[in-house]
Amino acid sequence: MLTLENIHTYYDRIHALKGISLTVEQGEIVTLIGSNGAGKTTTLNTISGILTPKEGTVYLEGERIDHLPAHTVTHRGVVQSPEGRKIFARLTVQENLEMGAFNRNDTDGIASDYERVLSLFPRLRERLKQAGGTLSGGEQQMLAMGRAMMARPRILLLDEPSMGLAPILVEQIFQIILEINSQGTTILLVEQNAQAALQVAHRGYVMETGTIRLSGEAKTLLEDPQVVEAYLGF
C-alpha cells in the first residue's frame, strides 16, 4: 500500500535519512522503532509531505506522493497524528474533531465517523465542550488520534502515541490502536516504547541514525538479541 524507496531527507545540510526503504501492506500495523534522533519522525514527516525528500520516492498504491504538498497528501488518505499530542489547545474537543474532517464534504460520513471516534474514545464524549488544552495527557493523545481518524484515513501515521503517558494509559492507547486496525485502517506506528509497539505490530523496522538497521516480523524482532539488547533493555 505504502512504499518508500531509498529516501534521503535533509534538514539544510544535515543528512537525516540516508536511504530509507520500507513497505506497509494493506491492513497491517507496521512499527518503526529506534532511539532518539534515529529519524523516525523525519520518516513520517517525509511521508506526509511536511518534508520533501531530496532523493528517493514514496508510493501510495503505486502513485508517487513525495513532492506533493502536505495538505494534498492528507486528501489521499495519509493522515498523521503528530508527535507530542499536538492538538488545537484552545478549540473545544468537538471543534478539534471537526477540524479533522476539514477536507471532507460527506456530511453523513462525517457524522458516522464522529460517532465511531467517540465510541473508540468514550472519554472524549464526556469532554466535548471542553477546551483541548485542559485535557489530561492521555486524553489529549486520544483527541489527537481521534482527530486523525476523522479524516477517514486509509493509512494512519501515529507518532509516539505513548509519549509521556502513565503505563496504564499506554496499555489503553495500544488497545485502541489494535481496535482501529481491526476496523480496517492500516497503521504506521512510530514508537520509542519498542516492547509495546512490537507486541501490537505485525512487522517492524528498527532505525538507527537515518538508516534501517533491521526489519522483520514483530515477533522475530522481539526475540532478536540485538534488538533486545539495544532497545528492550533486558
Binding site: S81, P82, F88, A89, T134
Partner: protein, 570 residues
C-alpha cells in the same frame, strides 16, 4: 469595607487626574453630570465582578456604591476647597498644575469663576458636588443590580424580571433623548450640548450592542436588531456636521477594524502595517476621482487626449478597483511573509506600512508628495449629490450613512466568513500551523486569503476616508492608524464583531468628546490599555473562543452568551 474604601480612593485619584488635566474647564456647565456618570460607570465596573461572585444583594450593592461615592466625593470637595482657598488668596498654582485655574474649579462647583476668585464659594456648592458623587456611587450600584440578570440571564444568583428589558430599551431611550436634544429651541446643557450629544450617541450605539446581546436569539433579536438599524440609519439626518464627522470616522474605523480582525483575530497574523491597505484604497480613489492633482496621471491623460479635469470613475464604480488594488497589496505583502510568525511578522508588516507611506511621500510625480491629492470627488446617489435632495443630510452625514452601510456589509461578510470553512481554517492555522497542515489545510492559500480579504476591507474604508477628507496627504496614513486599528480590536475583544464596534466607539469616538484635553489622550489610552490587559485581557465584548483562551478555568461552561450573540447576528 476597607476594600471598598480603597476603591473610593482610586475613584478619587481618577477624579483628581481628570481635574488636573482640566476636564472641568472643557465641560463647563456639564461637569457635574459628566463626572457623576463617569463615577457611576466606574462603580459599576468594579462592583460587577464581586456582585457576580458573591451574589451580593441590592442593599449591599447600594451600600458599597454609596461608600465609594462618599469617599471620592468628600475627598474631592476637600481638594477643591484647598485649591480654592489658595486661588482665593491669590496664590498662583499654575506653574505647578497648569490647569488649576478658577475657571476649572468653578466648573467643578457649578458656580461662576468670579465667585472662586473672590473666595465667596458657598458651602452649599461644595455639598452639592459631594452629593452628586455620592448619588453617582449609588447609581453605579443600582446599575450593577439592574444589569446582572440582563445579559442572557447568565449571571448566577438573582434573576429579576424586567431588568433584561432595561438593557434592551436603554439605547432607544438614549436615542430618543438625542433626538430631543437636537430639536430647535432645546437649550439643555447650553453651550456643551453638542459635546454631550456626541457622548450620548457613542453611549447609545454602544448600549445597542448590549441590547442585542440581552435579546433572546431568534425573532426577538431580529426585531431589536432591525429597530436599532433603523435608528442608527436615522442618526446622520439628526446630528450636526461636527457630530457626523466624528461618527463617520468611528464607522470608517469599524470597517477597518473588521478587516484587521480577520487578519489578527481570526487568522492570528499580527499585522502592524495595516494602514498600507487603507492608504492604497484612499489613493486609488483619489487617482481616479481627481486625476488632475497627480502630475503624472494628468500628463498621461492629456497625452491620450482625455481631460484630466473630470473624474475617471465615480465613487461607486471605483469601489471594485479600490478593493482589488488593496487585495493585490495584501497578497504582495503576504507572499514574502508566508514563513514568518509572531514578532518577525509584526516587524516586517510594520516596515511594509512605512514603505507604502514613504512611497506616497516620495513618488512626487504620481502622488504629488507631501502636497497631497486634492479635491477628491464626493460620493453621489445615482449621480445626484444628496445635499441637493434633502437639507437634513450634510456632507459629513452622508459619509456617515455610507460608513454605516459599509460597516454593515463588511460585518455581514466577516460573520459569514467566520462560520465558513475558510474561517475554520484560519482558526486552526492560528492555533498551530503544523497541525493545521496535517489536517489538510492549504497554509499558503489560507494565509494569503486572510491578508487579501483583510486588505480589501481596509481598501474600502480608505476609499471612503479619501472622500471624507476631500484632500489626502501621506501623513494621514502614519503608523498610528495601524496602532489605532489594532488597539480598538484589543479593547473591544479580539475576534469579536460587536467588540470591534465598541472598540471603535471608545477609541475613535471618546477622544473627540475630550478634544479639550487632547494632549493627555495618548497617556490616558496607554493607561487604559494596560489596565484592560490586566483586568480583562479578552476585551470588553470578546468572542466566546477568545474568552476560553484567556480564562481556561471557565472552559467547562457550555454555550456562552456571546456565542448566542454571534449566532444571532448570522
Amino acid at each position: 469595607m476597607r476594600k471598598t474604601f480603597n476603591i473610593g480612593l482610586i475613584a478619587f485619584a481618577i477624579l483628581t487626574y481628570l481635574t488636573l488635566i482640566g476636564l472641568p474647564t472643557r465641560l463647563a456647565g456639564a461637569t457635574q453630570p459628566v463626572l457623576a456618570v463617569l463615577l457611576a460607570l466606574f462603580v459599576y465596573a468594579v462592583l460587577r465582578g464581586p456582585a457576580r461572585e458573591t451574589g451580593m444583594g441590592l442593599g449591599q450593592l447600594l451600600q458599597h456604591g454609596l461608600l465609594i461615592g462618599l469617599v471620592a466625593g468628600l475627598l474631592l470637595v476637600v481638594e477643591v476647597g484647598f485649591f480654592n482657598s489658595l486661588l482665593g488668596d491669590g496664590v498662583k498654582i499654575q506653574p505647578v498644575f497648569d490647569q488649576i485655574v478658577p475657571l476649572n474649579m468653578a466648573a467643578m462647583l457649578n458656580v461662576r469663576a468670579g465667585t472662586v476668585l473672590n473666595g465667596e464659594v458657598s458651602p452649599i456648592a461644595y455639598a452639592i458636588l459631594a452629593l452628586y458623587l455620592a448619588l453617582a456611587g449609588v447609581a453605579g450600584g443600582l446599575l450593577v443590580h439592574f444589569t446582572r440578570s440582563g445579559a442572557a440571564g447568565s449571571m448566577r444568583g438573582v434573576h429579576i424580571p424586567g431588568t433584561r428589558w432595561f438593557t434592551i430599551l436603554l439605547p432607544f431611550a438614549l436615542f430618543a433623548f438625542i433626538y430631543y436634544l437636537g430639536l430647535d429651541g432645546v437649550t439643555t446643557f447650553g453651550n456643551d450640548k453638542n459635546i454631550i450629544r456626541l457622548l450620548l450617541v457613542l453611549m447609545a450605539t454602544g448600549s445597542g450592542l448590549f441590547a442585542l446581546r440581552a435579546a433572546h436569539a431568534g425573532l426577538e433579536q431580529l426585531i431589536i436588531g432591525a429597530l436599532l438599524a433603523v435608528v442608527l440609519l436615522c442618526l446622520p439626518f439628526v446630528l450636526n456636521q461636527f457630530q457626523n464627522s466624528v461618527m463617520n470616522i468611528v464607522f470608517i474605523f469599524v470597517m477597518m477594524g473588521l478587516g484587521l480582525n480577520i487578519v489578527v483575530g481570526y487568522a492570528g497574523l499580527l499585522d502592524l502595517g495595516y494602514v498600507a491597505f487603507f492608504a492604497i484604497g484612499a489613493y486609488v480613489y483619489a487617482f481616479v476621482s481627481a486625476p488632475f492633482s497627480s502630475p503624472y496621471i494628468s500628463a498621461l491623460l492629456t497625452g491620450m487626449g482625455i481631460s484630466p479635469q473630470s473624474p475617471l470613475l465615480g465613487y461607486w464604480s471605483a469601489i471594485p478597483l479600490a478593493m482589488l488594488t488593496a487585495a493585490i497589496g495584501g497578497v504582495l505583502l503576504g507572499i514574502p511573509v508566508l514563513r514568518l510568525r509572531g514578532d518577525y511578522l509584526a516587524i516586517v508588516t510594520l516596515g511594509f506600512g512605512e514603505i507604502i507611506r514613504l512611497f506616497m511621500l516620495n513618488l512626487g510625480d504620481l502622488t504629488n508628495g507631501p502636497r497631497g491629492l486634492l479635491q477628491i470627488a464626493q460620493p453621489t446617489l445615482f449621480g445626484v449629490a444628496p445635499a441637493a435632495l434633502t437639507t437634513h443630510l450634510d456632507a459629513q452625514g452622508w459619509i456617515f450613512l455610507l460608513a454605516i452601510l459599509g460597516s454593515a456589509v463588511v460585518a455581514f461578510v466577516a460573520i459569514r466568513l467566520n462560520d465558513s470553512r475558510l474561517g475554520r481554517a484560519w482558526v486552526a492555522m492560528r492555533e498551530d500551523e503544523d497541525v493545521a497542515q496535517a489536517t489538510g489545510i492549504h497554509l499558503v492559500q489560507t494565509k494569503l486569503l486572510a491578508f487579501a480579504i483583510g486588505a480589501t476591507f481596509a481598501g474600502l474604508a480608505g476609499q471612503l476616508y479619501a472622500a471624507r477628507q476631500v484632500n489626502i496627504f501621506p501623513e494621514n496614513f502614519s503608523l498610528f492608524v495601524s496602532i489605532d486599528a489594532l488597539a480598538l480590536i484589543i479593547v473591544g475583544g479580539m475576534g469579536s464583531i460587536p467588540g470591534v464596534v465598541l472598540g471603535a466607539l471608545a477609541l475613535k469616538g471618546l477622544p473627540e468628546v475630550l478634544r479639550g484635553v487632547d494632549e493627555y489622550r495618548i497617556v490616558t489610552f496607554a493607561v487604559l490599555l494596560i489596565v484592560m490587559m490586566i483586568v480583562r485581557p479578552e476585551g470588553i465584548l470578546p468572542s466566546a473562543r477568545r474568552r476560553r483562551e484567556l480564562h481556561s478555568e471557565d472552559a467547562e461552561l457550555p454555550v456562552d452568551e456571546d456565542e448566542q450573540l454571534e449566532g444571532g447576528h448570522a
